[in-house]
């Protein structure tokens, strides 16, 4: 199979490409990138995509999602999860280890990789657990996880409460050159179900002070500086976290971090009417936090956007707020939210968005993706930044529908997702 993509605007910070280029894909690779490729005969190509007015990104990479396999296939499985990812423009995704059984051993990692080869339509990279059973007590067999194919380690969903264990995890992981991803949550402050502030006071929902996240962000920065080893902070949601990380980076601390679209799209006000679809951990914060997140994305403090795609069955959301599960179904709204809010509303350049959604997450996970270059695997996402679309959860490919963005009109949509030379999404439709 070979394709020609004509007249698209290519954005690939990893290879310093920014401009109008034609691209030829042959089999699974990028064969040619040139300013103008003249078509001698249409028969030379199996397909020609006219990308006039469209932007070609290195296939988006999601460094943080939940595929719920094994153990919670009633929420999502590899097939539905990867279809949802492809529809949303992601060509590579990294799934968190809070499955049942937990991905704290090579067997589960291999299982996820094998199932993904069979059932998946995008590249799936599992993340292993930092500690056995995500319990924060004993280190997992991090070396074995790495050799089985894990691209990072995290106890996501749970913090590593004990700083001594976290320190050992960072030291031990450094031998294997695998990223340590920290879910920051000080448990003695996290007994609540939303951000503590005016909205928690007015709804009577128990608040979680933003210090809950910030205290552990500060701890990880101190550990990273002390050890001179890297650490990656998951789902940053507060202004002070952004500030702490910005200052740490300035003094040379080897920290990277991520945020999610809901932290720059929503505030705690989304919970005024007890909407459980906006219940997420860490909880949505205030407008000042939202603005700080956008500034952090703009100025390089925040390195990447991840979905934290967290599908849940409707019965886990359609209950009393306090009992509802945390999490937002994120694959199929992330790109639209990013283009609409960051690019259109806040003028964050698309080239920066390519760093945030393609290049930087690939570097974090060392997966050799996120760059458009001749000879590389042909993972591409083609976006129409002008097309408006109304989010409709009933059309989600994901098994779950827990999105607070249902009914929201957003500008920016994914038209093509190409994974290893295979066209998975064509003209916005999953093939």
């Amino acid at each position: 199979m070979n394709y020609l993509i004509k007249n698209g605007y290519v954005l690939s910070p990893g290879s310093n490409l920014k401009g109008k280029y034609d691209i030829v894909i042959e089999d699974d690779r990028i064969k040619l990138i040139e300013e103008e490729i003249v078509i001698h005969s249409e028969k030379d190509y199996d397909d020609i995509i006219d990308a006039s007015g469209l932007y070609i990104f290195p296939g988006f990479v999601d460094a943080h999602c939940h595929l719920r396999t094994p153990g919670y296939e009633y929420k999502e499985d590899i097939e539905t999860g990867t279809r949802a990812a492809a529809k949303g423009g992601f060509t590579s995704i990294a799934c968190m280890p809070n499955t049942d059984p937990v991905a704290d051993n090579s067997t589960v990692i291999e299982y996820i990789i094998n199932r993904s080869r069979e059932d998946g339509c995008v590249n799936v990279f599992p993340i292993g657990a930092i500690t056995k059973g995500l319990l924060g007590k004993e280190l997992s067999e991090i070396g074995e996880l790495k050799f089985a194919g894990a691209v990072g380690i995290s106890d996501d969903g749970n913090p590593v409460e004990d700083p001594g264990i976290m320190m050992k995890a960072m030291q031990y992981a450094s031998m294997f050159d695998i990223s340590v991803i920290s879910h920051c949550e000080e448990r003695s402050l996290s007994d609540g179900c939303m951000n503590e502030g005016l909205t928690s006071t007015m709804t009577g929902l128990k608040g979680i002070p933003c210090a809950c996240e910030e205290i552990m962000v500060a701890r990880e920065l101190v550990l990273s500086q002390y050890l001179n080893l890297p650490v990656h902070i998951a789902h940053v949601s507060s202004a002070l976290s952004v500030q702490l990380i910005r200052e740490a980076k300035k003094r040379g601390v080897r920290v990277t971090c991520e945020t999610c679209p809901h932290y720059f799209a929503l505030t705690e006000e989304a919970l005024e009417d007890f909407d459980t679809n906006a219940k997420v951990n860490p909880p949505l914060k205030t407008e000042a936090d939202r603005i700080a997140i956008i500034e952090g994305l703009r100025d390089g403090t925040i390195d990447m956007i991840v979905t934290d795609h967290a599908p849940h069955h409707k019965d886990e959301k359609n209950v009393e707020f306090q009992l509802a599960a945390n999490g937002i179904d994120g694959f199929e709204t992330a790109v639209a939210l990013t283009i609409d809010i960051l690019f259109h509303q806040n003028h964050v350049p698309l080239y920066r968005i390519a760093e945030l959604m393609s290049k930087n997450p690939s570097v974090l996970l060392s997966i050799n993706k996120g760059v458009i270059e001749v000879g590389n695997t042909a993972d591409l996402t083609i976006v129409d930044t002008k097309a408006e679309k109304v989010i409709d959860v009933s059309l989600f490919e994901s098994k779950s529908k827990n999105s607070p963005f249902n009914g929201k009109k957003l500008k920016g949509t994914v038209l093509y997702t190409i994974v290893g030379g295979k066209m998975i999404v064509r003209n916005g439709i999953l093939v």
Binding site: E196, G197, G204, N318, Q322
Partner: protein, 310 residues
């Protein structure tokens, strides 16, 4: 005045307008006449069914609703949560849908979790009344409190009111703040710093950490119950220390207006929030609050079911 409540439910004071509150209170005046008469049985709710579904303990609120319904001629039933299918693990939504299918006209719900009545109302075609949800709202308590105050002051505009105690865990405080603000009162609150919810001053009230400052010139004081069962989180070091710094006695009361009135949603911890002398004294409206509670709930039942008939 003849108007109609906008919502089929009463989920919280924050959803009511000032006019709606006044309208409910005016209707309660009429209901008080019925309570005064020897024959406490009217046909206002004849043929209607009222169900109380209380997931938390209650004496006065549940009984007050039940009597309010009965005085208006309704069929009142109570679900004993402990012996119902809820004990078998039935979800709130399924319970509520079942009651809806049995053509309940008014469902009165008390629940330990904030927002539970909102969830119930979305799954119930007739009216839902919130009888207290977690630490969110207790709208009928606030209505009876402002009704009691309005009987004394006629107009609450500019009246100085202090609310004292565990504001954080108090749905009564929240509902009262919304109601009193909507009627124009001037509100001060005081309580231990650990029991003041964050950003509450943004509601347009004054917040103090001493009871003395809050009650200066107060024309009414609402003392809140210290919820002994909620103090496990080390919010205050001891009840003794609480009384020393926040308890209201005759000495402190001298700071307030000379005609100050004392209210308490009950049940009272004697000698903790208020001294017994104050509870039983002439300034206390605590017993009147209970009586007015029935009138206000009659008014609500009447207004919500009348709305439905149209």
């Amino acid at each position: 005045m003849n108007m109609e409540l906008r919502s089929k439910d009463l989920l919280g004071i924050k959803y009511l307008s000032g006019e709606e509150i006044e309208y409910i209170l005016d209707t309660a005046d009429t209901m008080n006449l019925i309570l005064d008469s020897g024959n406490k049985k009217t046909p206002h709710l004849q043929g209607r069914s009222v169900v109380t579904l209380f997931y938390e303990n209650s004496t006065r609120t549940r009984m007050s609703f039940e009597l309010a319904g009965k005085y208006l001629g309704a069929n009142c039933s109570n679900i004993a949560v402990a012996s119902s299918s809820i004990a078998k693990g039935e979800t709130l939504i399924d319970t509520v849908k079942t009651l809806d299918m049995m053509s309940t006209d008014v469902l009165i719900i008390r629940h330990s979790m904030a927002g539970a009545p909102n969830l119930a109302a979305r799954n119930f075609s007739a009216s839902v009344i919130n009888a207290g949800d977690g630490i969110n709202e207790h709208p009928t308590q606030a209505l009876l409190d402002v009704y009691t105050l309005r009987k004394r002051f006629r107009d609450l505009k500019g009246i100085k009111i202090a609310i004292v105690g565990d504001i954080l865990h108090s749905r009564v405080a929240r509902s009262n703040i919304y109601a009193l603000k909507k009627l124009g009162a001037d509100i001060s609150i005081a309580g231990p710093a650990t029991l003041i919810p964050r950003d509450i001053e943004m509601l347009g009230i004054k917040v103090f950490n001493t009871v003395q400052e809050a009650i200066i010139d107060a024309q009414a004081i609402i003392a809140l119950r210290i919820q002994l069962e909620r103090q496990a989180g080390a919010f205050i070091p001891s009840i003794r220390e609480y009384f020393r710094f926040f308890g209201i006695d005759d000495y402190r009361l001298k700071l307030a207006d000379e005609n100050v009135l004392i209210m308490h949603p009950g049940p009272v911890n004697r000698g903790i929030e208020l001294t017994s002398d104050i509870i039983d004294g002439s300034r206390s409206l605590i017993n009147e609050q209970v009586r007015n509670g029935v009138a206000v709930r009659m008014a609500l039942l009447y207004l919500l079911t009348r709305r439905k008939m149209k």
